[in-house]
Structures are given as structure tokens and as C-alpha cells.
Amino acid sequence: MGTKMKKQANVVLAMRHIDKNFPGVKALSDVDFTLKKGEIHALMGENGAGKSTLIKVLTGVEEFETGMIMIDGNDRPIINKSPQEAQENGISTVYQEVNLCLNLSVAENIFIGREPKKMGLIDWKTMNTKAAQALNRLEIHIDVTKACENYSIAIQQMIAIARAVDISAKVLVLDEPTSSLDDNETDKLFELMRRLRTDGIGIVFVTHFLEQVYAVCDRITVLRNGGLVGEYETVNLPRVQLVAKMMGKNYDDLAAIKKKRNENNKTESQVVIDAKKLGHTGTIKPFNLTLHQGEVIGLTGLLGSGRSELARSLYGADKPDEGELFVKNEKVSVNAPIDSMKRGMAYLPENRKEEGIIPELSVRENIILALQAKRGMFKLMIRKEQEELTDKYIDILKIKTSDREVPIKQLSGGNQQKVILARWLLTNPDFLILDEPTRGIDVGTKTEIQKLVLKLAEEGMSIMFISSEIEEMIRICSRMAVLRDGAKVGELGAEELNQNGIMEAIAGGGKNE
């Protein structure tokens, strides 16, 4: 591995053979990334692909084991040991949660750590003038003396970008910048990005919004499971192919996995859930959804398309701003999860670590918690009942634990998931929402859970199944709702449930919102 590599004239950043390990996990394996001067380059990948790790390695938040990073202007490879160093090397990052100090003025935020001075004291006048200039260069005209908290997130992002550019960035990394922006603001951001591109800056655009990638990016790099899938010119890569590569499927393989179970058309049975124009500002655009008894409906779409957000709005974890919800034909107003629980709903969250397990409490306590909350404070379940129920589900779900009193944090991820599943099954719901229930679980257990879901549906439970694995959903679901970019864009009936059909629906063909 020589320290000099054949330098291409128009390459501003080259990462080669990057390896990164975390305890027990290989996050990046022999990954290459090339960024040209004056280009907007999308970095894409599903969960666990390694996108964020690659960025962290580039910007100095994490170290890497092997490989090298070359940047234009330095003959030797660089190693960034901190965000500060990365900045000095010309790599600036603007994060999804805009990292500004909102209590300070715009000008201050642009100049924190490098304030212009006069006679040893800060020269406010010069700072304000220079800040205004930096923003004007990017066609942003705002009062730089006001505190940043007075401006919208969109403007705050631009201020963060202006800071990055002013610190003479050669490489600008934008990490999911459009998640909190509306269409107008996103357009303005794209204008800014194009302007910067003309100035010769290389932009790494990390995003999961398909439409935006096709709107503004020149090239796309796709990662999957810590490895590089490929680097493509946007014009040469149709949407469906991109989705296929991200999900690791071969679009040309026409041997689709056929559904294994017999179809009883469930749309004749009783309607359990009916959502009319239900929406929650900022997370999910208003949607309609009907669910019948015994149906398993899948929610599919790329990461970030709004699947969990839809589920949360149904359950009441995010109180919907508009629309109506009917449970068993009765109009329901949900102010908090306890309301939907009492109506027979249950919700297994996607992020079990932060929203699922209560780490220091025992397996038993975690399992009986939801049922106990449903019964109420004064109807404590007697210890014997708790123990019996816990043992029952440890048995049914084959939860591997030495004892039911062990703190749940000591269990493996898969077994923790089973405990949370047990928690909700215990409440005997009519409608069960499972958000990525098999993520991080071994194959054997996955199948068990899938079989369990089918059995429950047969017994009359309605289930919403969210997963990133298409085969799994085809096997279990009788219908699918497709989401893209924060909205429900369509449904697929039983006949249309095959891999290619689903991927086409996810990818879409153009701006159709």
C-alpha cells in the first residue's frame, strides 16, 4: 500500500480499502469511495449498510483499522482524529440535527472558535460583516445579529452550511439534511447545493429519499452490509435497479418466491381498523388504511419512508394532527397509548433498546408490564400469576434465559425481542403492530416468529407487519401498503405480491405526489 496513489486531476476525496470493526461486528469491509471536485454524490444503503460508519470514519468521529483517505492538496494520506482535524483538512459536516448553538447569533455560530479580533478583543462589527458576506455568497439574506433559534430549521441548516464553506471546505458532507424540510425548503437547499457544486466543492449527500437523489445527484454509491455494492452515474441507473442493489436483490432474477400459504380472502371479514386521512405533521402525510379481522398487512418501503411513523400515528405514540380513526366501527380519539391499548391495540417498537426494553427490570417485569398497565394501578397481578404467565411465554417463544428474574439487559438482542413480543401477546390484542420484529434475530427464531404470526392471524388477530426483508413479508402478508418519502403511495393486493412488483412499487417512476 503505497502512500502515493495515481492522482486523478478532478478527484477531491478518495477513500480506499476502508475496514472498520466494532466489537462483534464488521461495520465496513474493504470499502472504496471517490468524490470528484464539483459533484454532488449520493451515499445510500439500508440499515446496517455502513453509511453512517463511513461518514464517521471520514469526519474523525471514529477511527478505522485499515485503508487510507486521500484529499486533494495533501500528498500524504490523512487521518482525522477528531471533527476539528477533519475540518482543518477541509472536510466539513452538516448533520441532520443541526449542530448550532441556537442561543447565539448567526454570525457567532459561523465564527465560533475563530472569531475575528481587534486588539485582543472580539471585533463584533467585522464578524457581522464577514458573516453577512459569507451568507450573501450563497444567496442567503438574513439578519446575522439575530439568534439562530429565531430561524427555521431550513435556514439553520444553511447557516451551518455557510459555516462549513467559510472554513474553506473542499468536501461538504450533508447527513440526511432534508428530513425536516418541506418541499419549498428542500428546493432552496438544492439550489444552494448546485451553487456550491459550481464553485468546485465536492458534496457527499447522505439520504434515503429516492426522488431527491434523482433530482440533484450526479453519482451514487451504494453500500450493503458493510461492503461496497457499486458506484454509478445517476443517469445510467434506473430507480428499480437502485432499489434492487440496496436490498441486495437481483432484478433480473425472475424466479420470484411464491407465496406458500393458501389464500382465504380476508377482505370479507369484519373491519377492525379504519383510518381516514390520518396524519401527523412532520412524520407521515395523511393516509387511508383499512384492516380486516385476521389479515396480515405489511408496510413496505425504504428506510425512512414513513413506515414506523404510520404505525406510531395509528397507535397514538404520535398523536395524529388530522384525520379520524375507527376501531371496530367506533370512532376513537387517542390521546395516549393507554387509550389504544384499552381498545385492543398493541405496538412493538422498531428500536427495542430505546423504546422497548426497561433494561434494569427483570424478564418477568418486562413481560407483564403492558398487561399490568392495562389492568390499572390497583389491580396488581399477584406474583404467582405473573410467574405463571412469564413461564408460559418463555416456553411458547422459547426465550433463552437462565431465570425469569434476570435483568433483561443481560439477554441477547433476539431474546430481548421475544420478551417484548411476549409482553404484547399477553395483552391479547385485536390489532398487533410489529415494527421490524425479526431484526437482529437468528434464522431459526425468525421462522418461529413468522409461523407464530400466521397462527395468530388464523385465530383472528389483525396484524401489521413492518419489515425491510421482502421475502419475509411475501411469506406472511395478505396485503401490502407501500410507502415512499413520508407518505403512503399505494397498496398491493395478494396477486401482486412478488419481489419485482414490490420493488417497482417502492421505487416508483417519477414525481407522483
Binding site: M1, E63, F64, E65, T66, G67, M68, I79, A317, A336, P337, I338, M341, Y347, P349, E354, E355, G356, I357, I358, P359, E360, L361, E365, L369, A370, Q372, A373, K374, M377, F378, L380, M381, R423
Partner: protein, 354 residues
């Protein structure tokens, strides 16, 4: 690892290990200093002795520690107003019973009214604290700061700036001994409060809720718990405990001294909770631990008095103990020690890349 090592590890892992060890150490020091420490004698059917004294004087602290435990568990914060609140509660009680007079020798109102007054005041103050913390999202230390500052002033207002004396023998019953009963009454009250609390926690799911909210309030919300309500409940209960403590404090001396009633007891209460093995960051809690912690501190106070440390100087030692315990609980310290050990064994190697 060897069998003895694994047994040792198991004992050390036992929840009440730390508090029991601390108590043992303090008792040991006491007995070295005062050989007659464990002696108990009976005079006129009443028990006397150093141990009896500790259990007696520690009663208010035990009650406050119980309340503080729930507050810490549910919110990860502490209530520093308990001393001031007990002063207000005591002032209200003595005022009601004494008819507002600076000194009197009969009840101007039924005893039950005075008692209720103190308890209601305690509950009201606790609810106010809970409202500020849970509803207004103000940090617990800041929120309880208000009553910490204003409490004694309010108490002074009620007592018109002087000590009010209630020279009724009946009133002292709560603070001293009921004739014919071998132990002082405060001990029974403390036991009662502990038992009742334990009973409520055992018969309802409140304990489970408090721990869930304290450990992971997001998850707790998703399983249908009302975190706000639970926190307010915890603070209200703590206020109630302060009210009870106020009753006992005033009963001991048949009077209310608004300036000094419950002075500095908040640090002792926090210390008791920490010594009891409870994390000051919230979550799982142990009532037994806090009770042991409270008596340990009372014993510590006795030790220091025996070493001729005056009551003014006592806080220095307590402050050091608090800092040591909280430092030991700190994950940063563990990280630092871990780094030290790693550096020493590996030599200093930077993680360099080819």
C-alpha cells in the same frame, strides 16, 4: 475463578451489600469509641441506651429518606425542600393547636385538626414541587429550590417570627414516649410509615411504574404509563413525609422554631438514599437500603458527636462521604480507571493506521 472468589462476588452483588457494610463500619467505630455502645438498660419500663437513641433520633430521617427514595427513583432528581417543608408543616400544626399564641398550655383546637394541617401542608408543597418538575419540565433541583428558599420564610410568617410553644403534655406524646410503652413514639411512626409504604408498593403496581418511568420513560409511555402523573405522585408523597417529619420534630420539643426545624436534614436524606445503594440518577430502588442508610447516618452523627465534633462541624464529614459515594457511582470514573489500567498493561499505543 476459584470458588471463594465467586462466593465473594455473589455476596458483593447482593443489593444491600454496600449499605450493610457501611452500617457495620460505623457501628464498629462506635463500639471502639464507646464500649458501652450496645448496652440497653430499662428504667421505669422504658428502654435506654445509645442504640435506642439512634433508632429514636433517626425516625424523621427514615421517613424523609423513604419519600426521597421515590422522588429520586421516578425522576432522577432530588427534593431539597424537605427540611423547609417540615418546618412549615410543624409551624402550621403548632399554630392551629396553640391558637396562634406564642405560648399556651392547652389545645385551642382538636388535635386531629393540627395533625391534618401539617399533613395537608406537606401534601400541598409536594404537589407544587411535582407540578413544577413533571408538568413545567423544570429541573428538580431548581424547582425544589423555591420552597427551600421560601419555606422557612413562610414558616416564620406563620409563627410571627418567634418560637411558638405548646406546653401541653399530650403533644409531647408523639415526640417522646407514651407511658407504658418501652420505645419512644417516633420509632413506631417511622416503622408505620415504612410498613405502609412497603404495603402500598406490594399491593399495587406503583413500585413497578416508578421504576419503569425512572429507567426508560419513553418505553414506559409506550406501554401505557402516565409518566407525568407518576412523578407528581412521587413528589407529593415526599411532601407528605416531610409533613409527618415536621409533626415529630415539633412534638419532641413542644414548640416550633421555624429557623432550625429540620435544618440541613435534606442533605442527610439524600445521603441516606445514596448510601442505601440507590442510584441518584433514578430507576430501581430499594426502600430497605434507604432505611439502612438513614440509620447509618444517624449512627455516624453519633460517632462524630462522641469524637466531640460539634453539630456545626458535622456537615464537613457528611459532605466528604457524599462526594466519595457519588464519585464511586460515576461511570466516568470507571472509564478513567479502565483507561489507566489499559494504558498500563498495553503500554501507550495509539491506534495507528497503515
Amino acid at each position: 475463578m476459584s470458588k471463594s472468589k465467586s462466593i465473594l462476588k455473589k455476596i458483593a452483588g447482593y443489593r444491600l451489600f454496600l449499605p450493610l457494610v457501611c452500617l457495620a463500619i460505623v457501628l464498629l467505630i462506635n463500639i471502639i469509641k464507646t464500649p458501652t455502645f450496645f448496652e440497653i438498660s430499662i428504667k421505669n419500663g422504658v428502654l435506654y441506651g445509645y442504640i435506642i437513641d439512634i433508632i429514636n433520633r433517626g425516625s424523621e430521617l427514615v421517613i424523609l429518606a423513604i419519600g426521597m427514595t421515590l422522588v429520586v427513583a421516578a425522576s432522577g432528581g432530588t427534593d431539597i425542600s424537605v427540611g423547609a417543608v417540615s418546618s412549615v408543616a410543624g409551624a402550621v400544626c403548632v399554630f392551629i393547636l396553640g391558637g396562634g399564641l406564642p405560648s399556651t398550655d392547652y389545645y385551642h383546637a382538636p388535635y386531629i385538626l393540627g395533625l391534618l394541617g401539617a399533613l395537608v401542608v406537606g401534601i400541598a408543597c409536594g404537589a407544587w414541587n411535582g407540578f413544577l418538575v413533571a408538568r413545567m419540565r423544570i429541573q428538580p433541583m431548581v424547582a425544589t429550590l423555591i420552597l427551600y428558599t421560601a419555606g422557612r420564610g413562610i414558616a416564620q410568617l406563620i409563627t410571627q417570627g418567634q418560637n411558638l410553644y405548646l406546653r401541653v403534655d399530650h403533644y409531647k406524646l408523639l415526640g417522646a414516649s407514651i407511658p407504658g410503652v418501652p420505645l419512644p413514639t417516633p420509632v413506631f411512626i417511622a416503622v408505620l410509615v415504612v410498613l405502609l409504604t412497603w404495603l402500598v408498593l406490594k399491593k399495587t403496581s406503583i413500585g413497578l411504574y416508578v421504576q419503569s418511568v425512572g429507567i426508560n420513560s419513553k418505553a414506559a409511555g409506550l406501554v401505557g404509563l402516565n409518566a407525568t402523573m407518576i412523578k407528581i405522585l412521587a413528589y407529593t408523597f415526599c411532601g407528605l413525609c416531610a409533613g409527618i417529619a415536621g409533626m415529630i420534630i415539633t412534638s419532641r420539643v413542644n414548640s416550633i422554631d421555624a429557623n432550625n426545624a429540620g435544618l440541613n436534614i435534606e442533605l442527610d436524606a439524600i445521603l441516606a438514599v445514596a448510601l442505601g445503594g440507590n442510584s441518584l440518577g433514578g430507576g430501581k430502588f430499594s426502600l430497605a437500603g434507604s432505611v439502612i442508610g438513614a440509620y447509618t447516618i444517624q449512627a455516624l452523627t453519633t460517632t462524630l458527636y462522641a469524637m466531640h465534633v460539634s453539630s456545626d462541624q458535622l456537615p464537613v464529614y457528611k459532605a466528604i462521604v457524599v462526594i466519595v459515594i457519588v464519585s464511586l457511582q460515576s461511570p466516568e470514573l470507571r472509564k478513567m480507571l479502565g483507561n489507566l489500567r489499559a494504558n498500563r498493561s498495553a503500554g501507550v499505543t495509539g491506534k495507528k493506521v497503515a
